[in-house]
């Protein structure tokens, strides 16, 4: 029964992350209409917000899901498989580790998300920079790209948090009800 539940959890997590990966691209596209200069510095990471909330709410290892969704994002957005995947997998490991030590409340979840965005974005940039896929120098990244990414993703996360939590709690309730039956 536990195995079956785990399969359902993985499928649910993959679906949510996949959806947010597509939403991230859509937001990136729309954001350029308002301000290309600001939008050009943000890395939209709604997919990471799902992973963060899921790691806190459901006690399962999401490393495999992070790898699969990372491959999907890589294939669809850049065509170079591995960059998003590695960054996402390392962030999933970090989240799995940090969840053990923190209480499950909004402030700690936001703080974890903040750290996750920093880790993900920096690894992603680091690999891009190493491969010569960007001309942005580390100083430029730290001074402009990372702060803009953190600020806008924080707002993005706060907007997403309540609906995301409701969906996850609803899923958990349904899963528990089925178990009782």
């Amino acid at each position: 029964m536990k195995k079956r539940n785990n399969f359902k959890i993985y499928f649910f997590a993959l679906f949510l992350i996949y959806l947010l990966i597509l939403v991230d691209g859509s937001i990136s596209f729309i954001a350029h209409f308002f301000s290309a200069v600001v939008a050009g510095k943000i890395f939209w990471l709604g997919s990471l917000s799902v992973l963060t909330v899921l790691s806190f709410e459901i006690n399962v290892n999401f490393l495999g899901i992070a790898v699969v969704s990372g491959i999907i994002a890589d294939i669809f957005y850049s065509g170079i498989i591995g960059i998003y995947t590695v960054s996402f997998a390392i962030t999933a490991i970090f989240l799995k580790w940090i969840v053990q030590y923190l209480p499950h409340n909004f402030i700690y979840i936001v703080s974890s998300y903040f750290l996750s965005v920093t880790i993900f974005s920096t690894i992603y940039y680091g690999i891009n920079n190493y491969l010569g896929l960007t001309r942005i120098v580390p100083f430029q990244y730290l001074a402009t790209y990372l702060p803009a990414t953190l600020l806008f993703n924080l707002i993005y996360f706060i907007i997403l948090y309540v609906p995301m939590l409701k969906i996850i709690e609803n899923f958990k309730r349904k899963l528990a009800l089925k178990d009782e039956k």
């Binding site: 990136s28 596209f29 065509g79 170079i80 591995g82 992603y124």
Partner: protein
């Protein structure tokens, strides 16, 4: 002798890193050398493309709504400006029609089927944009079934905005001309001065500070002026000749006057577009 496979976790980490590195290297090789990605990647892209319509359509609708509002507000000023241009446009159209006919007749006489400046157009809608913005990648809803091929130039409005970097069955990826990737393909371009002289070079990158493209590899003493047109030269690939990139915006002498930095203001807004046109060069196909 220490046991080689004693630490399972370390082995898993090492193998994972090797696999990740191999995957990245393999993907870069495909992007650089292959005409199209392998079938499995194409298929995955197509499946994602179909599902992404559901997510992207509300966004596109919202964006088009905002576009409509903004355009409506600036209609009066635009109308006044356009009225002034109409007379000149009609005159130019007549001239173009005469020149096209003449050009066709001359080509017939010379037995030339197509030249570097001949092309056809494929219109496409922008589906999505890479969430990591330093990648400058767009996803459009036209693929190999619509005749899209790798490296074809892409235009929006009156200017070039990028080129096709990956072709799938139903969608394609466009690398923007403003991309700051070191491995990006550059556009061969030329500046036509007011005196009619032509200077060849390459669009080497994008300056964020100047909000302009950089025209590099210039090896001439010919005087270039602000306002000179920059167009594709049609050399080195599938890009036709004469596609407008922009106009010279600023000329800067670097390295104590030894090199010249030319900034090109793009002919179109290289950050805001919903519909693009893919250019298919007739010659060489």
């Amino acid at each position: 002798m220490p046991k080689l496979f004693s630490n399972k976790r370390l082995i898993v980490i090492l193998v994972s890193f090797i696999l990740a590195a191999a995957s990245i290297v393999f993907s870069i090789r495909i992007i650089n050398y292959s005409q199209t990605p392998p079938y499995l990647l194409k298929l995955t892209n197509d499946v994602i493309d179909v599902t992404s319509y559901v997510v992207n359509e509300p966004g596109r609708f919202l964006k088009n709504g905002f576009n409509f509002q903004t355009e409506l507000l600036s209609t009066y000023q635009e109308n006044q400006r356009l009225k002034k241009k109409v007379d000149q446009l009609e005159q130019n159209q007549t001239k173009i029609a005469i020149l096209t006919r003449e050009n066709k007749e001359l080509k017939k006489e010379l037995q030339l089927n197509a030249t570097l400046s001949d092309y056809s157009q494929i219109t496409a809608a922008v589906l999505s944009r890479s969430p990591a913005n330093w990648q400058d990648v767009l996803i459009i809803n036209r693929g190999s079934v619509n005749g899209i091929k790798k490296n074809m130039p892409v235009m929006s409005g009156s200017g070039v905005i990028g080129r096709i970097m990956e072709v799938n069955h139903l969608n394609s990826k466009v690398e923007l001309i403003s991309s700051n990737s070191k491995i990006a393909n550059h556009f061969a371009a030329q500046i036509t001065t007011k005196k009619g002289e032509v200077i060849n070079g390459v669009i080497t990158g994008y300056s964020e500070a100047e909000n302009a493209l950089i025209f590099g590899n210039v090896s001439t003493d010919t005087e270039i002026h602000v306002g000179d047109a920059v167009v594709t030269s049609g050399l080195g690939g599938v890009v036709p000749k004469g596609l407008l990139i922009g106009k010279v915006n600023k000329i800067e002498k670097k390295d104590y006057g030894l090199s010249t930095m030319i900034y090109v203001k793009s002919a179109t807004n290289i950050n805001d577009f919903s519909v693009v046109t893919v250019i298919d060069r007739t010659v060489g196909n």
